[in-house]
Protein backbone atom coordinates (compact mmCIF):
# COMPACT_ATOMS: atom_id res chain seq x y z
CA UNK A 1 0.00 0.00 0.00
CA UNK A 2 2.99 2.35 0.05
CA UNK A 3 3.80 4.84 -2.66
CA UNK A 4 7.05 3.37 -3.72
CA UNK A 5 5.43 0.21 -5.00
CA UNK A 6 2.99 2.30 -6.98
CA UNK A 7 5.76 4.34 -8.48
CA UNK A 8 7.68 1.20 -9.19
CA UNK A 9 4.69 -0.24 -10.98
CA UNK A 10 4.54 2.82 -13.18
CA UNK A 11 8.23 2.93 -13.83
CA UNK A 12 8.33 -0.65 -14.94
CA UNK A 13 5.07 -0.56 -16.80
CA UNK A 14 6.17 2.30 -18.95
CA UNK A 15 9.58 0.99 -19.72
CA UNK A 16 11.50 4.19 -19.08
CA UNK A 17 14.17 4.77 -16.50
CA UNK A 18 12.99 6.19 -13.21
CA UNK A 19 13.58 9.69 -14.53
CA UNK A 20 14.01 12.09 -11.61
CA UNK A 21 12.38 14.77 -13.71
CA UNK A 22 9.14 12.75 -13.88
CA UNK A 23 6.87 13.79 -11.06
CA UNK A 24 4.98 11.06 -9.28
CA UNK A 25 1.47 11.99 -10.26
CA UNK A 26 2.18 11.79 -13.97
CA UNK A 27 2.16 8.46 -15.73
CA UNK A 28 4.61 9.37 -18.50
CA UNK A 29 7.01 12.14 -19.38
CA UNK A 30 4.91 12.91 -22.41
CA UNK A 31 1.89 13.49 -20.21
CA UNK A 32 3.95 15.74 -17.96
CA UNK A 33 5.33 17.72 -20.87
CA UNK A 34 1.89 18.14 -22.44
CA UNK A 35 0.43 19.23 -19.14
CA UNK A 36 3.18 21.81 -18.57
CA UNK A 37 2.77 23.15 -22.06
CA UNK A 38 -1.01 23.43 -21.84
CA UNK A 39 -0.65 25.07 -18.44
CA UNK A 40 1.64 27.75 -19.85
CA UNK A 41 -0.67 28.42 -22.81
CA UNK A 42 -3.61 28.89 -20.46
CA UNK A 43 -1.53 31.20 -18.30
CA UNK A 44 -0.70 33.23 -21.40
CA UNK A 45 -4.42 33.41 -22.18
CA UNK A 46 -4.95 35.00 -18.78
CA UNK A 47 -2.21 37.50 -19.58
CA UNK A 48 -3.92 38.35 -22.86
CA UNK A 49 -7.11 39.11 -20.93
CA UNK A 50 -5.15 41.15 -18.39
CA UNK A 51 -3.47 43.34 -20.96
CA UNK A 52 -6.63 43.23 -23.02
CA UNK A 53 -8.60 45.22 -20.48
CA UNK A 54 -5.88 47.82 -20.52
CA UNK A 55 -5.65 47.90 -24.32
CA UNK A 56 -9.42 48.27 -24.49
CA UNK A 57 -9.37 51.31 -22.23
CA UNK A 58 -6.52 52.78 -24.25
CA UNK A 59 -8.28 52.24 -27.57
CA UNK A 60 -11.44 53.90 -26.30
CA UNK A 61 -9.65 57.03 -25.16
CA UNK A 62 -7.52 57.14 -28.26
CA UNK A 63 -10.71 57.10 -30.32
CA UNK A 64 -12.28 59.88 -28.28
CA UNK A 65 -9.21 62.10 -27.91
CA UNK A 66 -7.32 61.25 -31.07
CA UNK A 67 -5.73 64.64 -31.60
CA UNK A 68 -4.61 64.98 -28.01
CA UNK A 69 -3.22 61.47 -28.02
CA UNK A 70 -1.40 62.12 -31.27
CA UNK A 71 0.25 65.18 -29.76
CA UNK A 72 1.26 63.21 -26.68
CA UNK A 73 2.49 60.30 -28.75
CA UNK A 74 4.74 62.61 -30.72
CA UNK A 75 6.55 63.51 -27.54
CA UNK A 76 7.72 59.99 -26.80
CA UNK A 77 10.78 58.85 -28.60
CA UNK A 78 9.88 56.47 -31.43
CA UNK A 79 13.54 55.85 -32.21
CA UNK A 80 14.12 54.48 -28.72
CA UNK A 81 10.87 52.56 -28.93
CA UNK A 82 11.83 51.13 -32.28
CA UNK A 83 15.23 50.12 -30.98
CA UNK A 84 13.54 48.35 -28.11
CA UNK A 85 11.32 46.52 -30.56
CA UNK A 86 14.38 45.28 -32.43
CA UNK A 87 16.04 44.31 -29.15
CA UNK A 88 13.08 42.21 -28.10
CA UNK A 89 12.72 40.52 -31.44
CA UNK A 90 16.38 39.57 -31.29
CA UNK A 91 15.90 38.27 -27.78
CA UNK A 92 13.11 36.01 -28.96
CA UNK A 93 15.47 34.69 -31.61
CA UNK A 94 18.10 33.90 -29.01
CA UNK A 95 15.48 32.08 -26.93
CA UNK A 96 14.59 29.90 -29.89
CA UNK A 97 18.27 29.24 -30.51
CA UNK A 98 18.76 28.28 -26.88
CA UNK A 99 16.00 25.72 -27.14
CA UNK A 100 17.39 24.38 -30.40
CA UNK A 101 20.78 24.13 -28.73
CA UNK A 102 19.23 22.09 -25.92
CA UNK A 103 17.52 19.85 -28.44
CA UNK A 104 20.82 19.24 -30.19
CA UNK A 105 22.90 18.90 -27.01
CA UNK A 106 25.02 22.01 -27.69
CA UNK A 107 25.63 23.10 -24.13
CA UNK A 108 27.85 26.09 -24.85
CA UNK A 109 25.51 27.52 -27.42
CA UNK A 110 22.57 26.99 -25.11
CA UNK A 111 24.24 28.85 -22.26
CA UNK A 112 25.44 31.62 -24.57
CA UNK A 113 21.98 32.12 -26.04
CA UNK A 114 20.39 32.20 -22.59
CA UNK A 115 22.88 34.82 -21.43
CA UNK A 116 22.38 36.82 -24.61
CA UNK A 117 18.61 36.74 -24.13
CA UNK A 118 19.02 38.15 -20.67
CA UNK A 119 21.40 40.82 -21.90
CA UNK A 120 18.84 41.87 -24.49
CA UNK A 121 16.24 41.99 -21.76
CA UNK A 122 18.45 44.18 -19.63
CA UNK A 123 19.12 46.42 -22.62
CA UNK A 124 15.39 46.76 -23.10
CA UNK A 125 14.92 47.78 -19.51
CA UNK A 126 17.80 50.20 -19.72
CA UNK A 127 16.37 51.94 -22.77
CA UNK A 128 12.98 52.02 -21.08
CA UNK A 129 14.58 53.61 -18.06
CA UNK A 130 16.05 56.33 -20.26
CA UNK A 131 12.63 56.97 -21.78
CA UNK A 132 11.03 57.24 -18.36
CA UNK A 133 13.72 59.64 -17.25
CA UNK A 134 13.09 61.80 -20.30
CA UNK A 135 9.40 61.90 -19.50
CA UNK A 136 10.15 62.82 -15.91
CA UNK A 137 12.40 65.66 -17.04
CA UNK A 138 9.76 66.95 -19.46
CA UNK A 139 7.07 66.94 -16.75
CA UNK A 140 5.03 64.38 -18.62
CA UNK A 141 4.57 62.10 -15.61
CA UNK A 142 0.94 62.34 -14.46
CA UNK A 143 0.55 63.97 -11.11
CA UNK A 144 1.02 67.34 -9.55
CA UNK A 145 3.99 68.34 -11.72
CA UNK A 146 2.38 67.34 -14.99
CA UNK A 147 2.47 69.94 -17.71
CA UNK A 148 1.51 69.73 -21.37
CA UNK A 149 0.73 73.25 -22.47
CA UNK A 150 0.81 74.58 -26.01
CA UNK A 151 1.55 71.29 -27.69
CA UNK A 152 0.31 71.28 -31.23
CA UNK A 153 -1.95 68.57 -32.46
CA UNK A 154 -0.22 66.99 -35.47
CA UNK A 155 -1.87 68.04 -38.71
CA UNK A 156 -3.82 70.86 -37.05
CA UNK A 157 -1.41 73.79 -36.81
CA UNK A 158 -3.82 76.03 -34.93
CA UNK A 159 -5.05 73.52 -32.38
CA UNK A 160 -3.44 72.69 -29.10
CA UNK A 161 -3.83 69.48 -27.19
CA UNK A 162 -6.04 69.39 -24.13
CA UNK A 163 -3.62 68.79 -21.25
CA UNK A 164 -6.08 66.72 -19.28
CA UNK A 165 -6.58 64.35 -22.18
CA UNK A 166 -2.84 64.18 -22.75
CA UNK A 167 -2.42 63.29 -19.09
CA UNK A 168 -4.69 60.31 -19.65
CA UNK A 169 -2.42 59.25 -22.50
CA UNK A 170 0.58 59.40 -20.25
CA UNK A 171 -1.19 57.63 -17.41
CA UNK A 172 -2.01 54.77 -19.74
CA UNK A 173 1.45 54.91 -21.28
CA UNK A 174 3.14 54.46 -17.92
CA UNK A 175 0.73 51.78 -16.74
CA UNK A 176 0.95 49.79 -19.99
CA UNK A 177 4.70 50.00 -20.42
CA UNK A 178 5.22 49.70 -16.68
CA UNK A 179 3.24 46.47 -16.42
CA UNK A 180 5.06 45.23 -19.50
CA UNK A 181 8.42 46.06 -17.91
CA UNK A 182 7.32 44.26 -14.74
CA UNK A 183 6.62 41.19 -16.83
CA UNK A 184 10.08 41.58 -18.39
CA UNK A 185 11.66 41.67 -14.94
CA UNK A 186 9.78 38.51 -13.97
CA UNK A 187 10.98 37.05 -17.26
CA UNK A 188 14.56 37.88 -16.33
CA UNK A 189 14.02 36.13 -13.01
CA UNK A 190 12.67 33.08 -14.81
CA UNK A 191 15.64 33.06 -17.16
CA UNK A 192 18.09 33.40 -14.27
CA UNK A 193 16.60 30.22 -12.89
CA UNK A 194 16.69 28.55 -16.34
CA UNK A 195 20.33 29.58 -16.74
CA UNK A 196 21.14 28.03 -13.38
CA UNK A 197 19.41 24.81 -14.31
CA UNK A 198 21.16 24.79 -17.69
CA UNK A 199 24.52 25.38 -16.05
CA UNK A 200 23.91 22.41 -13.79
CA UNK A 201 23.28 20.25 -16.83
CA UNK A 202 19.61 19.63 -16.16
CA UNK A 203 18.59 20.08 -19.77
CA UNK A 204 19.04 17.34 -22.30
CA UNK A 205 17.58 16.67 -25.73
CA UNK A 206 15.23 14.38 -23.87
CA UNK A 207 14.10 16.86 -21.27
CA UNK A 208 14.10 20.62 -21.56
CA UNK A 209 10.46 21.44 -20.88
CA UNK A 210 11.22 24.38 -18.56
CA UNK A 211 13.15 26.00 -21.40
CA UNK A 212 10.22 25.59 -23.74
CA UNK A 213 7.62 26.99 -21.42
CA UNK A 214 9.95 29.75 -20.24
CA UNK A 215 10.47 30.55 -23.89
CA UNK A 216 6.72 30.71 -24.45
CA UNK A 217 6.43 33.29 -21.70
CA UNK A 218 9.27 35.34 -23.14
CA UNK A 219 7.71 35.30 -26.60
CA UNK A 220 4.45 36.48 -25.13
CA UNK A 221 6.12 39.43 -23.43
CA UNK A 222 7.71 40.22 -26.78
CA UNK A 223 4.37 40.11 -28.59
CA UNK A 224 2.76 42.46 -26.07
CA UNK A 225 5.50 44.96 -26.83
CA UNK A 226 4.98 44.54 -30.57
CA UNK A 227 1.39 45.69 -30.02
CA UNK A 228 2.32 48.43 -27.57
CA UNK A 229 4.88 50.04 -29.82
CA UNK A 230 2.69 51.09 -32.74
CA UNK A 231 -0.28 51.84 -30.50
CA UNK A 232 1.63 54.17 -28.24
CA UNK A 233 4.48 55.51 -30.33
CA UNK A 234 3.16 55.71 -33.84
CA UNK A 235 -0.13 57.60 -33.61
CA UNK A 236 -0.53 59.71 -36.72
CA UNK A 237 3.20 59.80 -37.42
CA UNK A 238 4.31 60.88 -40.84
CA UNK A 239 7.81 60.59 -42.29
Amino acid sequence: MSDSSVVAVHGEAHGGTDDPALRHHFATEEQQRNASSLGMWIFLATEVMFFGGLFCSYLIYRHWYFGDFAAASKSIDAALGGTNTAVLICSSLTVVLAIWAAQTAQRTLMLAMLILTMLFGLAFLGIKGKEYKDKFDEHHVPGSSFSFEHEQIPGHPDQYANPRHAEIFFALYFIMTGLHALHMIVGLGVFTWLLTMAWKGRFTPHYHTPLEIGGLYWHFVDIVWIYLFPLLYLIDRHP
Binding site: Y65, G67, H156, D158, Q159, Y160, N162
Partner: protein, 329 residues
Protein backbone atom coordinates in the same frame (compact mmCIF):
# COMPACT_ATOMS: atom_id res chain seq x y z
CA UNK B 1 -52.96 47.74 -0.27
CA UNK B 2 -52.37 47.92 3.46
CA UNK B 3 -51.68 51.37 4.73
CA UNK B 4 -49.05 50.34 7.19
CA UNK B 5 -47.17 48.10 4.92
CA UNK B 6 -47.99 48.39 1.26
CA UNK B 7 -47.37 45.39 -0.94
CA UNK B 8 -47.60 47.35 -4.15
CA UNK B 9 -46.50 50.88 -4.98
CA UNK B 10 -49.06 53.43 -6.09
CA UNK B 11 -49.41 54.18 -9.77
CA UNK B 12 -48.93 57.89 -10.24
CA UNK B 13 -47.61 58.20 -13.77
CA UNK B 14 -48.42 56.97 -17.26
CA UNK B 15 -45.38 54.71 -17.19
CA UNK B 16 -46.54 52.98 -14.03
CA UNK B 17 -49.37 51.22 -15.78
CA UNK B 18 -47.13 49.84 -18.54
CA UNK B 19 -44.45 48.68 -16.15
CA UNK B 20 -46.98 47.06 -13.85
CA UNK B 21 -48.67 45.30 -16.74
CA UNK B 22 -45.40 43.72 -17.85
CA UNK B 23 -44.55 42.88 -14.25
CA UNK B 24 -47.87 41.16 -13.71
CA UNK B 25 -47.41 39.21 -16.93
CA UNK B 26 -44.04 38.05 -15.65
CA UNK B 27 -45.54 37.21 -12.27
CA UNK B 28 -48.03 34.99 -14.01
CA UNK B 29 -45.45 33.31 -16.25
CA UNK B 30 -43.03 32.80 -13.36
CA UNK B 31 -45.75 31.70 -11.05
CA UNK B 32 -46.90 29.08 -13.52
CA UNK B 33 -43.35 27.93 -14.16
CA UNK B 34 -42.58 27.73 -10.44
CA UNK B 35 -45.77 25.85 -9.82
CA UNK B 36 -44.99 23.49 -12.67
CA UNK B 37 -41.53 22.68 -11.34
CA UNK B 38 -42.60 22.45 -7.71
CA UNK B 39 -45.54 20.18 -8.56
CA UNK B 40 -43.47 18.02 -10.87
CA UNK B 41 -40.65 17.64 -8.37
CA UNK B 42 -42.92 16.91 -5.44
CA UNK B 43 -45.09 14.57 -7.44
CA UNK B 44 -42.15 12.63 -8.87
CA UNK B 45 -40.46 12.56 -5.48
CA UNK B 46 -43.52 10.97 -3.95
CA UNK B 47 -44.69 8.81 -6.83
CA UNK B 48 -41.24 7.42 -7.58
CA UNK B 49 -39.91 7.10 -4.08
CA UNK B 50 -37.76 4.12 -3.34
CA UNK B 51 -39.61 0.85 -3.06
CA UNK B 52 -37.74 -2.39 -2.53
CA UNK B 53 -37.68 -4.50 -5.65
CA UNK B 54 -38.74 -1.65 -7.95
CA UNK B 55 -35.64 -0.41 -9.76
CA UNK B 56 -35.29 2.94 -11.46
CA UNK B 57 -35.84 3.01 -15.20
CA UNK B 58 -32.73 4.23 -17.05
CA UNK B 59 -33.84 6.84 -19.55
CA UNK B 60 -31.09 8.36 -21.67
CA UNK B 61 -32.96 11.45 -22.77
CA UNK B 62 -35.17 12.71 -25.52
CA UNK B 63 -34.04 15.11 -28.20
CA UNK B 64 -37.58 16.21 -29.13
CA UNK B 65 -38.22 17.04 -25.47
CA UNK B 66 -34.93 18.96 -25.17
CA UNK B 67 -35.74 20.96 -28.27
CA UNK B 68 -39.26 21.65 -27.05
CA UNK B 69 -38.20 22.92 -23.69
CA UNK B 70 -35.46 25.01 -25.21
CA UNK B 71 -37.45 26.58 -28.01
CA UNK B 72 -40.67 27.30 -26.15
CA UNK B 73 -38.97 29.14 -23.27
CA UNK B 74 -36.84 31.00 -25.80
CA UNK B 75 -40.03 32.06 -27.56
CA UNK B 76 -41.60 33.23 -24.33
CA UNK B 77 -38.38 35.06 -23.46
CA UNK B 78 -38.42 36.87 -26.80
CA UNK B 79 -41.96 38.04 -26.12
CA UNK B 80 -40.89 39.35 -22.73
CA UNK B 81 -37.84 40.98 -24.28
CA UNK B 82 -39.87 42.73 -26.96
CA UNK B 83 -42.49 43.95 -24.54
CA UNK B 84 -39.81 45.19 -22.13
CA UNK B 85 -37.97 46.88 -24.97
CA UNK B 86 -41.07 48.79 -26.04
CA UNK B 87 -41.75 49.99 -22.50
CA UNK B 88 -38.10 50.99 -22.10
CA UNK B 89 -37.89 52.80 -25.40
CA UNK B 90 -40.86 54.89 -24.38
CA UNK B 91 -39.35 55.63 -20.97
CA UNK B 92 -36.15 56.86 -22.57
CA UNK B 93 -37.75 59.05 -25.19
CA UNK B 94 -39.04 62.27 -23.66
CA UNK B 95 -41.95 63.73 -25.61
CA UNK B 96 -41.22 66.80 -27.65
CA UNK B 97 -42.94 69.55 -25.73
CA UNK B 98 -42.05 68.52 -22.22
CA UNK B 99 -41.72 71.01 -19.44
CA UNK B 100 -38.04 71.02 -18.54
CA UNK B 101 -36.43 70.89 -15.16
CA UNK B 102 -32.68 70.96 -14.63
CA UNK B 103 -31.42 68.74 -11.82
CA UNK B 104 -28.03 69.01 -10.17
CA UNK B 105 -27.26 66.20 -7.74
CA UNK B 106 -24.61 66.54 -5.14
CA UNK B 107 -23.64 64.75 -1.99
CA UNK B 108 -26.25 64.66 -0.43
CA UNK B 109 -29.05 66.73 -1.88
CA UNK B 110 -31.02 67.38 -5.01
CA UNK B 111 -30.96 70.87 -6.48
CA UNK B 112 -33.67 71.49 -9.02
CA UNK B 113 -34.32 74.44 -11.27
CA UNK B 114 -37.37 74.79 -13.43
CA UNK B 115 -36.86 76.31 -16.85
CA UNK B 116 -39.27 78.98 -15.69
CA UNK B 117 -36.77 79.81 -12.98
CA UNK B 118 -38.05 78.39 -9.69
CA UNK B 119 -35.37 76.75 -7.62
CA UNK B 120 -36.04 73.90 -5.25
CA UNK B 121 -34.02 71.74 -2.93
CA UNK B 122 -35.05 68.10 -2.50
CA UNK B 123 -38.54 68.86 -3.69
CA UNK B 124 -39.99 69.06 -7.15
CA UNK B 125 -43.35 70.65 -7.77
CA UNK B 126 -44.96 69.62 -11.02
CA UNK B 127 -48.41 69.94 -12.53
CA UNK B 128 -50.46 66.83 -13.00
CA UNK B 129 -51.09 65.73 -16.56
CA UNK B 130 -48.01 67.37 -18.07
CA UNK B 131 -44.91 65.78 -19.56
CA UNK B 132 -41.91 66.73 -17.46
CA UNK B 133 -38.37 66.20 -18.69
CA UNK B 134 -35.46 66.16 -16.28
CA UNK B 135 -32.02 67.19 -17.51
CA UNK B 136 -29.67 65.96 -14.86
CA UNK B 137 -26.03 66.07 -13.90
CA UNK B 138 -23.99 65.54 -10.80
CA UNK B 139 -21.44 67.77 -9.16
CA UNK B 140 -19.47 64.93 -7.68
CA UNK B 141 -20.22 61.20 -7.78
CA UNK B 142 -22.82 59.11 -9.54
CA UNK B 143 -26.29 59.42 -8.04
CA UNK B 144 -29.62 58.08 -9.30
CA UNK B 145 -32.99 59.80 -9.48
CA UNK B 146 -35.67 57.31 -8.50
CA UNK B 147 -39.39 57.86 -8.05
CA UNK B 148 -40.96 54.46 -7.36
CA UNK B 149 -44.51 55.61 -7.84
CA UNK B 150 -43.65 56.90 -11.32
CA UNK B 151 -41.63 53.72 -12.08
CA UNK B 152 -38.90 56.10 -13.13
CA UNK B 153 -35.17 55.86 -12.55
CA UNK B 154 -32.09 57.33 -14.18
CA UNK B 155 -28.50 57.46 -12.99
CA UNK B 156 -27.14 60.98 -12.68
CA UNK B 157 -23.54 61.26 -13.80
CA UNK B 158 -20.83 63.83 -13.26
CA UNK B 159 -19.48 65.35 -16.43
CA UNK B 160 -22.52 64.90 -18.62
CA UNK B 161 -26.27 65.19 -18.76
CA UNK B 162 -28.62 62.28 -18.50
CA UNK B 163 -32.27 62.70 -19.26
CA UNK B 164 -35.47 61.22 -17.86
CA UNK B 165 -39.11 62.10 -18.12
CA UNK B 166 -42.47 61.34 -16.58
CA UNK B 167 -46.12 62.25 -16.91
CA UNK B 168 -47.77 62.41 -13.50
CA UNK B 169 -51.37 61.24 -13.40
CA UNK B 170 -52.33 61.69 -9.75
CA UNK B 171 -52.14 64.66 -7.46
CA UNK B 172 -50.13 63.85 -4.37
CA UNK B 173 -46.70 63.70 -2.83
CA UNK B 174 -44.34 60.89 -3.82
CA UNK B 175 -40.99 59.66 -2.64
CA UNK B 176 -37.82 60.69 -4.40
CA UNK B 177 -34.84 58.46 -3.58
CA UNK B 178 -31.20 58.53 -4.52
CA UNK B 179 -30.59 54.96 -5.50
CA UNK B 180 -26.94 54.83 -6.55
CA UNK B 181 -24.74 54.55 -3.51
CA UNK B 182 -22.98 57.87 -3.07
CA UNK B 183 -21.41 57.95 0.36
CA UNK B 184 -22.28 58.61 3.97
CA UNK B 185 -25.70 60.21 3.62
CA UNK B 186 -26.84 58.16 0.66
CA UNK B 187 -29.97 57.13 2.55
CA UNK B 188 -30.57 60.73 3.50
CA UNK B 189 -30.57 61.96 -0.07
CA UNK B 190 -34.31 61.72 -0.38
CA UNK B 191 -37.06 64.15 -1.20
CA UNK B 192 -40.51 64.47 -2.66
CA UNK B 193 -42.22 65.02 -5.92
CA UNK B 194 -45.27 67.22 -5.27
CA UNK B 195 -47.82 66.79 -8.01
CA UNK B 196 -50.38 69.60 -8.02
CA UNK B 197 -53.41 70.32 -10.07
CA UNK B 198 -52.73 72.95 -12.72
CA UNK B 199 -54.33 75.90 -10.94
CA UNK B 200 -52.44 75.30 -7.73
CA UNK B 201 -49.27 74.83 -9.72
CA UNK B 202 -49.67 78.17 -11.45
CA UNK B 203 -50.20 79.79 -8.08
CA UNK B 204 -47.11 78.15 -6.70
CA UNK B 205 -45.09 79.12 -9.77
CA UNK B 206 -45.89 82.79 -9.55
CA UNK B 207 -44.59 83.15 -6.02
CA UNK B 208 -40.89 83.87 -5.63
CA UNK B 209 -39.43 83.74 -9.08
CA UNK B 210 -36.01 84.70 -10.25
CA UNK B 211 -37.08 84.77 -13.86
CA UNK B 212 -36.73 82.02 -16.43
CA UNK B 213 -33.54 80.01 -16.50
CA UNK B 214 -32.88 81.08 -20.05
CA UNK B 215 -32.82 84.73 -18.97
CA UNK B 216 -30.25 83.87 -16.33
CA UNK B 217 -28.34 82.11 -19.05
CA UNK B 218 -28.51 85.15 -21.26
CA UNK B 219 -26.94 87.23 -18.52
CA UNK B 220 -24.13 84.76 -18.04
CA UNK B 221 -23.65 84.62 -21.82
CA UNK B 222 -23.06 88.36 -21.78
CA UNK B 223 -20.93 88.40 -18.62
CA UNK B 224 -18.57 85.74 -19.94
CA UNK B 225 -18.18 87.52 -23.24
CA UNK B 226 -19.64 84.73 -25.34
CA UNK B 227 -21.46 87.26 -27.50
CA UNK B 228 -18.14 88.62 -28.75
CA UNK B 229 -17.64 85.58 -30.94
CA UNK B 230 -21.10 84.06 -31.09
CA UNK B 231 -22.83 86.90 -32.84
CA UNK B 232 -26.29 86.68 -34.30
CA UNK B 233 -24.91 87.10 -37.79
CA UNK B 234 -22.27 85.26 -39.80
CA UNK B 235 -19.39 87.59 -38.94
CA UNK B 236 -18.49 86.06 -35.66
CA UNK B 237 -15.42 83.96 -34.94
CA UNK B 238 -17.83 81.41 -33.54
CA UNK B 239 -20.96 79.83 -35.02
CA UNK B 240 -24.24 81.65 -34.82
CA UNK B 241 -26.28 79.97 -32.11
CA UNK B 242 -29.66 80.95 -33.55
CA UNK B 243 -31.71 77.88 -34.29
CA UNK B 244 -28.76 75.68 -33.34
CA UNK B 245 -30.34 73.60 -30.64
CA UNK B 246 -31.70 70.32 -31.89
CA UNK B 247 -30.19 70.69 -35.36
CA UNK B 248 -27.46 68.62 -36.95
CA UNK B 249 -23.98 70.15 -36.91
CA UNK B 250 -21.18 69.32 -39.31
CA UNK B 251 -17.79 69.12 -37.70
CA UNK B 252 -14.50 69.83 -39.37
CA UNK B 253 -13.49 66.18 -39.24
CA UNK B 254 -16.55 65.30 -41.28
CA UNK B 255 -18.75 63.90 -38.53
CA UNK B 256 -22.30 65.13 -38.12
CA UNK B 257 -23.64 65.41 -34.58
CA UNK B 258 -26.90 66.68 -33.11
CA UNK B 259 -26.73 69.81 -30.97
CA UNK B 260 -28.32 68.46 -27.80
CA UNK B 261 -27.75 69.36 -24.14
CA UNK B 262 -24.57 67.33 -23.93
CA UNK B 263 -23.19 68.94 -27.09
CA UNK B 264 -23.72 72.44 -25.75
CA UNK B 265 -22.22 71.49 -22.41
CA UNK B 266 -19.18 69.90 -24.02
CA UNK B 267 -18.68 72.86 -26.30
CA UNK B 268 -18.39 75.11 -23.28
CA UNK B 269 -16.13 72.86 -21.23
CA UNK B 270 -14.02 71.25 -23.97
CA UNK B 271 -14.41 73.27 -27.14
CA UNK B 272 -11.61 71.48 -28.95
CA UNK B 273 -13.49 68.18 -28.86
CA UNK B 274 -15.88 69.03 -31.65
CA UNK B 275 -14.82 71.93 -33.88
CA UNK B 276 -17.50 73.10 -36.29
CA UNK B 277 -16.62 72.98 -39.97
CA UNK B 278 -15.42 76.25 -41.30
CA UNK B 279 -14.39 77.65 -37.95
CA UNK B 280 -11.00 77.83 -36.32
CA UNK B 281 -10.47 76.18 -32.92
CA UNK B 282 -9.98 79.41 -31.00
CA UNK B 283 -12.68 79.05 -28.34
CA UNK B 284 -11.19 78.99 -24.84
CA UNK B 285 -12.37 76.42 -22.35
CA UNK B 286 -14.62 77.42 -19.45
CA UNK B 287 -13.82 74.32 -17.39
CA UNK B 288 -13.62 75.44 -13.78
CA UNK B 289 -15.05 78.86 -14.60
CA UNK B 290 -18.73 77.91 -14.61
CA UNK B 291 -20.75 75.99 -12.04
CA UNK B 292 -23.23 73.26 -12.96
CA UNK B 293 -26.09 75.66 -12.35
CA UNK B 294 -24.56 78.24 -14.66
CA UNK B 295 -24.05 75.56 -17.29
CA UNK B 296 -27.71 74.62 -17.01
CA UNK B 297 -28.68 78.25 -17.46
CA UNK B 298 -26.48 78.59 -20.54
CA UNK B 299 -27.96 75.41 -22.01
CA UNK B 300 -31.44 76.76 -21.37
CA UNK B 301 -30.47 80.02 -23.06
CA UNK B 302 -29.10 78.30 -26.14
CA UNK B 303 -32.29 76.27 -26.29
CA UNK B 304 -34.34 79.43 -26.18
CA UNK B 305 -32.53 80.61 -29.32
CA UNK B 306 -34.02 77.69 -31.18
CA UNK B 307 -36.90 79.83 -32.37
CA UNK B 308 -35.69 82.04 -35.22
CA UNK B 309 -35.78 85.71 -34.30
CA UNK B 310 -36.18 84.95 -30.63
CA UNK B 311 -32.60 85.91 -29.81
CA UNK B 312 -32.00 87.72 -26.55
CA UNK B 313 -35.60 88.51 -25.72
CA UNK B 314 -36.17 89.63 -22.20
CA UNK B 315 -39.74 88.45 -22.02
CA UNK B 316 -40.48 85.50 -19.82
CA UNK B 317 -39.69 82.49 -21.96
CA UNK B 318 -41.44 79.22 -21.56
CA UNK B 319 -39.31 76.15 -21.58
CA UNK B 320 -37.00 76.23 -24.54
CA UNK B 321 -39.02 73.88 -26.70
CA UNK B 322 -40.53 75.67 -29.66
CA UNK B 323 -44.23 75.90 -29.98
CA UNK B 324 -45.02 75.47 -26.32
CA UNK B 325 -47.63 78.07 -25.78
CA UNK B 326 -48.77 76.89 -22.37
CA UNK B 327 -47.14 79.67 -20.45
CA UNK B 328 -48.56 82.56 -22.42
CA UNK B 329 -51.28 83.75 -20.16
Amino acid sequence: MFDNFPLWPQRASTAAGSVDALFIFLLIVSGLMTLLIFVAVLYFAARYRYRPGVPAEQIEGSIPLELTWSIIPLGVFMVIFAWGAVVYFKSRTPPRDSTEVYVVAKQWMWKLEHAEGQREINELHVPVGRDVKLIMTSQDVIHSFFVPEFRMKQDVLPGRYTVAWFHATKVGTYHLFCTQYCGTQHSGMIGSIVVMDPAQYEAWMSGGNTGPLSATGEKIFAELGCATCHRSDTQGRGPNLQGLFGSPVQLEDGRIVTADENYVRESILDPGAKVVKGFRPVMPTFQGLVSEEQLNALVAYVKSLAQPGAAGTKTAQSSGAPGNGNQVQ
